[in-house]
Symmetry: C2
Subunit: 104 residues, 2 copies
C-alpha cells in the first residue's frame, strides 16, 4: 500500500455544493483553505500549516477537503503537497470561494 490508499479526486463537474459547504464549515479546514489561498495558488505541504490539532486529525481534515473537491493532494517524497482547486471551484460555484475567503 502506497503513501496514500486511493487519493481520489472528484471531477470538477461532480462537485456537490453541500459537500463543499460542509468541508468549509469547520474552523480547522477553513484555516487550511485560507492559508492555501494566501499563498496565491502555490502549493504547500501538510506539515506547513499551523493547526491546533494532532497529525491524525490533520490527515482527516485534509482528506475531507480533498474528497469534497476543495483541494488537490499530490505525493512528493515523504510529503504531501496541497493545492487549492480554485479554478475548478470557481467554474462550478462562481463566487463561492471568494465570498468565503473575503469574509472576516
Amino acid at each position: 500500500m502506497g503513501l496514500v490508499r486511493s487519493l481520489h479526486h472528484p471531477a470538477a463537474e461532480t462537485l456537490e455544493l453541500t459537500g463543499v459547504l460542509h468541508a468549509l464549515a469547520d474552523p480547522v479546514r477553513l484555516e487550511i483553505v485560507r492559508e492555501l489561498a494566501a499563498g496565491g495558488g502555490c502549493e504547500r505541504r501538510c506539515n506547513a500549516f499551523s493547526l491546533p490539532v494532532t497529525k491524525s486529525t490533520r490527515t482527516h481534515h485534509f482528506r475531507v477537503l480533498r474528497e469534497s473537491g476543495v483541494i488537490e493532494q499530490r505525493a512528493e517524497g515523504t510529503a504531501v503537497v496541497n493545492r487549492l482547486r480554485r479554478d475548478e471551484l470557481d467554474a462550478r460555484f462562481p463566487g463561492l470561494l471568494d465570498s468565503v475567503l473575503g469574509a472576516g
Copy 2:
C-alpha cells in the same frame, strides 16, 4: 410558554461564517433557503414548503437556520412566517448567498 420559547435572532454583526456554512450544508435547509429566495424576499409560513421530513424535523431545521442568522422567524397567529435575512447576510458575507443560490 409561548408559541416559541425564545425566538432569538443573532445580530447581523455577530453572524459566524462557519455557522452559516454549516446551516447551508444540509439539503433540506438548502431547499428551504432556495424556496425562500425564489419568493423574492417575500415571507412564507413553515407549512408552505415541500420538504421530505416530518413536522418535528422541519422545526429543527428552521431553528438551525434562525440561530445561525440565515432566516428571521416571526409568529403570526398559530403560524410562523419565515424571511430570508438577505440584506444582513449580504452585508456581513458579501456574495456568499448569491453564489450559494446561483449554484446548480
